[in-house]
Amino acid sequence: MAISLKVNGVSRSVPAEPDTPLLYVLRNDLELNGAKFGCGLAQCGSCTVLIDGKAVRSCVTPIGTLEKSEITTIEGLGSLAKPHALQQAFIQEQAAQCGYCISGMIMSAKELLDRNPRPSEQDVRTALEGNLCRCGTHNRIINAVLRAAQANGRT
């Protein structure tokens, strides 16, 4: 069984069953590291990706429902050489300790900035409520999202 998915603008065929969670396909078939397994229960947000612009938990999203969707992972935002404003801001704020939750944080923040380019601190906190961080990097993460919003505002 093969299923076709459009990830970061590229169509890919993957040899997986339709009930396979998107997360495993992204990580194992497409070799994308960003989305992480944290709970498998849509409780922690570390597997967050964008599906048609909406932040979604890839650990509970079966690929069979996604053949017509545009999937964006953190690899689709930018790269080491050409980071997205959010990625740049997270580096500048040193907004990671272990960093395991950070891809999910950035993807949830991307959805926020797409619909609200100038969020308040409270907006950021609310938007990231479903993304858990265990190291206590919360302050830096919030500051990084606000910094990215400011950077976007200037361009």
């Binding site: 580096i91 960093g99 479903g130 265990r134 206590g136």
Partner: protein, 737 residues
């Protein structure tokens, strides 16, 4: 006339041992002990064990300490680059590999900068001196006339030689002498700077950053099935039901250890579900009644030690106060469940692991797999945030057991969320009783404190048992080693139980409880979080009884100038107002400790807001002042202190591992909630740099002061005190009723 030349240790070791030592080690022929070397140089004495100079002008640094998300590899690279006069970009770090690096035991207890950092500082200075000596010969100039810039050594006449050109003639296969003087802090160019961490760019762009991200050619996927509770026995399981799942390569059963290997990860998960469904277990002993857990802990056999005794006169007129505090079991709750890769190939087992100690882990693998140490290699790769002894070592052994079923194919095993929550060793539940006499002068005249706690250290490698989960469930089960407790002054359950305050009389008793009804081990700070909570809460209770301001009361009992400085600095930063009253829903409190009574000084002030109707407590803001001696990386230090405060607020407000007699009830983030983004306090930090003092461990310095600050802020706001953690809404409502 041999005896006078022997030191006490050799003498008491017995004659046989002396003879052997003489014949093996020429240093002993003269009756001399090898000189004491600083930091981890003492146990890893060769220079090339730490540093190598490469032909391309770079240096390779080897450390036994590992990255846990605390930024340690960046800090250690800063130290090495500083002493070697190399730009950071030309430092390559290799860490935690039984095949390559020094054995520095565990990366734990905020000791990496102190131990590995000191070794690298001294080794770096010595290697630099060796390079200068070689360059002097090469250039025909006096050593003290040479100047080094970015790894190039120049003579006064302008002739130059680079480290790369000297690489071939540098022989570092020699014992360190620790005679070269490291740079004075005033000439530091890299140490003391907020260097950005090396690992962050990859982590924000989907780079390969974690052991969870490793993909080896031909890799397959494993999952394990754990029993319903501790000590259960697997009676039967329908292996065929799992083998019927597409892609399954093997079902592995060894006694009550059960796992599965499949081509694809989701297939392994499905096969795990099938095994869970059909497995029949004889359950192990019931867990204690959670309502009586603290009585149970106090009633179990304990080894008792009296520590920190001071004796002086006590006035008969003194007022006596007493209070009992408790702390529940708490989970590490890392966001990424534990993970390892293992491959058995040509009789050799390689394990990629986020263990805090690759050498101790190898020790347990030797026992669990019954393989010789030289057939096992453990290589560190980062995992999700590590806050102590979590499932890292256990999952590595699980992976190795599964790898034996598919030789030649690397297997990747990540625990499921419930594996992690139900089976990780928790931070132990503790009971703390404090009693003090308050003199008519408003000062503490007598202090008595006792605590009951299980071990905070059941890590690998045990000297007399096997300290990894799977080993206890094999067909030939291996027993867990006896519980241990690090001795004072650092301590285990009794960490930070001896007050730093100047009391004329004090007595501290550590009841080290031996039986372990629930699996426990090291969680960040060991006993310090609970002891600082109790000790600093009680300081505030005494201050209130004396009618004194909490900051002034602490200063009145504290001589240590560095402790006073952080208390005064945080009071200033938070604009603390002496005698200010809480208003029933808002308040602020202070907490202080010198971590382990020998590492960093931290004082925290927290603000709280209480919704009296719902019982929900919030911590909108916290301030901290920190003295960690010489600061290696200011931003890295801030991140550790800030993270520690937020994590401690999470522990304090929300966290408790729930269980009943049938087993552990914490299985996910719904049954074990942690602090969310809207709930996180804003944190402001002041660093006090002391360039002439040695660097002090700081990764665990702020959790104790933070819980105390929150508890004291609650009491300040409401006039009522919560002495049992956490601040659950129901408990808060009951206290306020």
């Amino acid at each position: 006339m041999i005896a006078p030349a022997l030191n006490r240790r050799q003498f008491t070791a017995g004659l046989g041992a002396i003879v052997v030592a003489f014949s093996l080690d020429p240093r002993h022929a003269s009756g001399q002990e090898p000189p004491r070397l600083p930091g981890s140089l003492q146990t890893n004495r060769k220079l090339d064990g730490w540093l190598r100079i490469n032909a391309d002008g770079t240096a390779t640094v080897f450390t036994g300490k590992v990255e846990l998300g605390q930024g340690i590899l960046t800090a250690l690279a800063q130290i090495a680059a500083e002493e070697l006069d190399l730009p950071l970009a030309r430092i390559k770090m290799i860490s935690g590999d039984t095949g390559q690096t020094p054995n520095e035991g565990q990366t734990a207890g905020s000791q990496s900068v102190e131990n590995s950092g000191t070794a690298l500082r001294m080794a770096g200075a010595e290697v630099r001196a060796i390079l200068i000596e070689l360059a002097a010969k090469r250039l025909g100039a006096a050593a003290d006339q040479l100047a080094i810039t970015d790894g190039v050594i120049a003579a006064p006449d302008g002739r130059k030689v680079g480290y790369g050109e000297l690489a071939a003639s540098v022989d570092l296969n020699r014992e360190a002498t620790a005679k070269a003087t490291p740079k004075p802090p005033t000439s530091h160019k890299i140490v003391g700077k907020s260097i950005q961490r090396f690992d962050i760019p990859a982590k924000v762009t989907g780079g390969m950053a974690f052991v969870q991200d490793m993909r080896l050619p031909g890799m397959v996927h494993g999952r394990v099935v754990r029993p319903p509770r501790y000590g259960s026995k697997l009676d039967s399981v329908d292996e065929a039901s799992a083998k019927a799942v597409k892609g399954v390569l093997a079902v592995v059963r060894d006694g009550s250890f059960l796992g599965v290997v499949a081509e694809r990860e989701e297939q392994a998960v499905k096969a795990r579900d099938a095994l869970i469904k059909s497995a029949k277990w004889t359950p192990g002993p019931e867990l204690p009644d959670p309502a009586r857990i603290f009585e149970v802990i106090k009633s179990l056999p304990s080894k008792d030690a009296t520590i920190g005794v001071k004796q002086g006169p006590v006035l008969a007129s003194a007022r006596v106060l007493e209070a009992v505090y408790t702390k529940p079991y708490m989970a590490h709750g890392s966001i990424g469940p534990s993970c390892a890769l293992a491959e058995l190939k040509d009789g050799k087992m390689t394990v990629w692991t986020h263990s805090q100690g690759v050498f101790p882990l190898r020790g347990e693998l030797v026992k669990a797999l019954k393989m010789p140490a030289n057939a096992i290699r453990c290589v560190h790769a980062e995992g999700a945030g590590c806050y102590g002894h979590n499932g890292a070592d256990d999952v590595a052994v699980d992976a190795a057991l599964l790898a034996r079923a598919v030789p030649g194919r690397p297997i990747r095993l990540q625990w499921m969320r419930d594996d992690e929550f139900k089976w990780e060793p928790y931070g132990p539940a503790m009971v703390m009783r404090a009693k003090a006499a308050l003199g008519s002068d408003g000062k503490i005249a007598d202090w008595e404190y006792e605590l009951w706690s299980n071990s905070h250290s059941t890590r690998p490698a045990s000297t007399n048992g096997t300290n990894v989960l799977a080993a206890w469930y094999l067909a030939e089960p291996q027993a867990m080693g006896p519980p241990t407790s690090p001795p004072q002054p650092a301590g285990g359950g009794d960490r930070n139980s001896i007050p730093l305050y100047d009391f004329p009389n004090q007595r501290v008793m550590h009841h080290f409880v031996q039986d372990m009804p629930i699996r426990v081990s090291a969680l960040r700070t060991l006993g310090a979080y609970a002891n600082v909570f109790a000790l600093e809460s009680f300081m505030d209770e005494l201050a209130a009884a004396a009618g004194a301001d909490p900051v002034a009361f602490r200063l009145a009992h504290m001589k240590d100038p560095r402790a006073r400085a952080v208390i005064e600095a945080v009071a200033k930063k938070a604009a603390w107002k002496e005698g200010e009253k809480g208003d029933g829903t808002r308040g602020r409190g202070i907490g202080f400790s010198k971590y382990k009574n020998l590492a960093c000084y931290v004082a925290v002030i927290a603000d709280v807001e209480i919704d009296r109707a719902t019982g929900v407590v919030r911590v909108p803001r916290a301030f901290a002042a920190v003295d960690s001696g010489l600061i290696i990386n200011p931003d890295g230090l801030s991140a550790q202190i800030e993270g520690g405060i937020v994590q401690s607020v999470s522990w304090t407000l929300k966290e408790e591992v729930r269980f009943d007699k049938s087993g552990i009830l914490a299985v996910d983030f719904a049954t074990y909630p942690i602090l969310t983004m809207p709930e996180a306090p804003k944190v402001e930090i002041e660093l006090i740099n002391r360039p002439t003092e040695r660097p002090l461990g700081s990764g665990e310095g702020s959790q104790g002061p933070a819980v105390a600050a929150v508890a004291n802020a609650f009491a300040h706001a409401t006039g009522k005190r919560v002495r049992d953690l956490p601040f659950h809404p129901a408990r808060v409502k009951a206290v306020l009723a």
